[in-house]
Symmetry: C2
Subunit: 355 residues, 2 copies
């Protein structure tokens, strides 16, 4: 009634437990006849290795933990694909920990659970996707010796940083807004992400920089609040009504999609009445109506790169952080300014006076 152990197998096969272990891990070193007897015994008993005992003995778990802030965000799946490919090539199992959206109170407790998971040695290392909280880098935690390594995908805050894989978020946001400016837009709003999120700050900075480079002054009333969720994209529609920008740059695609459906229902047409740019190029961005102009991050590549960095750290090296290129994907949601002569007049139209 209890799990068979290596000892049960050994007894049935008439060999020592050492031989059984060898059959499982270095088969070619044991005699063919013996091996057969052992493997038969394995089948007969339904034996499976006890991972706890193996980990205890080998001092590693052959597992990598990937911590995701919101698994419902389709942005992450391709990253996971890239990670898994590299992980399994290296003989590691990829396990995912979902902390849940950070606006729900539970997320903190969950993330702590995964921190402990790693610290307890259940994983040999961790990959953190987007905005890990400070607990991962706590002094009392990190000053201990022999801790499992961490690689972050996306940049981390001001804390002493781990190795990182990211794109230039500020530069990408700047490119997105510059695209709108090139189309002739002058009143461009930005719908930001959740406060305290580092991506929010970077994308906002890029938005402001683009305006500045075009000689325009960022207007605080055109910086709308948001939280990366569909609902805040819908809410942005009211602000759009009040402030009438001719274009909006959203800090992510999901909010842009929320805006699109609300605008459609209200009879506001995109891009005729307003141009929209998102960020992330999620799965559904190509199937919005209209399809969404957005920033694409090399997701699979980001995951694979991060996993390779982690492996190299596990191998004793000390790799540097990596920055990957992004793309501005121009689709149907952006066009010239509403009055229709934006494309022609845009060179002539003088920049807003400064000061």
């Amino acid at each position: 009634m209890t799990r068979p152990t290596i000892e049960d197998v050994a007894r049935i096969a008439g060999v020592s437990i050492a031989t059984v272990s060898r059959c499982l891990h270095m088969p070619d070193v044991v005699a063919v006849k013996t091996r057969e007897r052992v493997l038969n015994a394995v089948r007969q008993t339904g034996y499976n290795l006890n991972a706890a005992a193996q980990s205890l003995r080998q001092r590693r778990s052959n597992t990598v933990l990937v911590v995701v802030p919101d698994i419902g965000n389709t942005f992450f799946s391709e990253i996971l694909g890239g990670i898994e490919t590299e992980a399994s090539a290296a003989g590691l199992t990829m396990l995912i920990g979902d902390t849940g959206r950070s606006d729900t109170g539970r997320s903190r407790a969950r993330e702590d659970a995964y921190v402990r998971y790693l610290l307890n040695g259940r994983a040999d290392g961790a990959l953190l996707l987007a905005d890990p909280q400070a607990a991962w880098f706590d002094i009392p935690t990190r000053n201990a010796v022999g801790l499992p390594p961490i690689v972050a995908i996306s940049e981390v805050g001001p804390q002493s940083g781990p190795v990182t894989v990211s794109i230039d978020n500020e530069g990408a946001a700047c490119a997105a807004v510059t695209h709108l400016i090139a189309l002739g837009h002058r009143r461009i709003a930005h719908v930001a992400g959740p406060q305290s999120n580092i991506l929010t700050a970077q994308r906002l900075a890029g938005y402001r920089r683009a305006l500045g480079e075009a000689g325009m002054t960022p207007a605080p009333d055109l910086e709308f609040p948001g939280d990366f969720g569909l609902a805040s994209g819908r809410a942005a529609f009211d602000l759009f009504r009040d402030h009438r920008p001719s274009a909006l740059f959203f800090a992510n695609d999901e909010m842009a999609m929320g805006f699109l459906s609300t605008a459609y229902a209200a009879g506001v047409r995109v891009p005729r009445d307003v141009s929209i740019v998102g960020f992330d190029d999620i799965h559904f961005a190509q199937s919005c109506i209209p399809s969404l102009t957005t920033i694409r991050q090399p997701r699979s590549e980001m995951g694979a790169t991060a996993m390779r960095l982690l492996l190299s750290i596990l191998a004793g090296q000390a790799p540097a952080s990596v920055r990957l290129p992004f793309d501005l994907v121009i689709r149907g949601s952006t066009a010239g300014v509403p009055d229709g002569h934006g494309a022609d007049t845009r060179m002539a139209s003088s920049p807003a006076p400064r000061g």
Copy 2:
């Protein structure tokens, strides 16, 4: 340079390892002064429990493995939320294994890795989301004693089944199509899921049953192939062109969304020119253009129920499978037949939710 062990802590605190262990697990049984000394030593050393040793000793891992076929499918995130809530309430950590879409060859190997993971005792039990492959129920696997229990969310195939949590997929599909019939539609097409998927068969059966109950004969040329992906929804548009149904029932929302954008681009308006029903009520279904009529499954509840079943099995009980109710959510993508006399019947037609 090596991880501190309980012994290091004991030495520094000047107590035995037993006392350290007690401080960590039954603090109230040790003297306050001693406890303080020990906790100080813990902080000082940066000690963390060794999960492998603990698991080995306790013969359990306090972990539940959730296996997801495609984490990019937003359908799963709420299920995971329900699971996690129950799991952490019971002191278990939820870990997710992503097998990847089954049309990619790698998925098989990944799933095997998670089977081993469970068999090796790294998790105390597993929750399988949607269409687990046979490996989970293999005879050589399951006949062994003391194996960790499994609960499946969604039904499983013809194999000897584990405990299951599901909705009545056939009934739900039938309700969806009956809704279309009540709106006056007579040429109703179905876009199916991937072959060999059990949900595909059940939803197709429900589609046929609804037609049959209305005295109509299912037409093979109105049963379009699909694979649950956006692209196959787009592809369905060509078939729609050729066969001109007045309504389509998709086996999931993602395909419906692919159809919507293609139809829009081609100037076909929904629901004026064609009515659309999806299945799942994913996150974006409310933000499509138009919003999507679909079948909602009680996702969070399904996850929570499954987790509770697993816990009860772990507690030595033998619970029965559970069937949960679904809802037909009527939104903007369905209306009367194109000639315009279906609109009146719409409100009257919504079938009651079924169990």
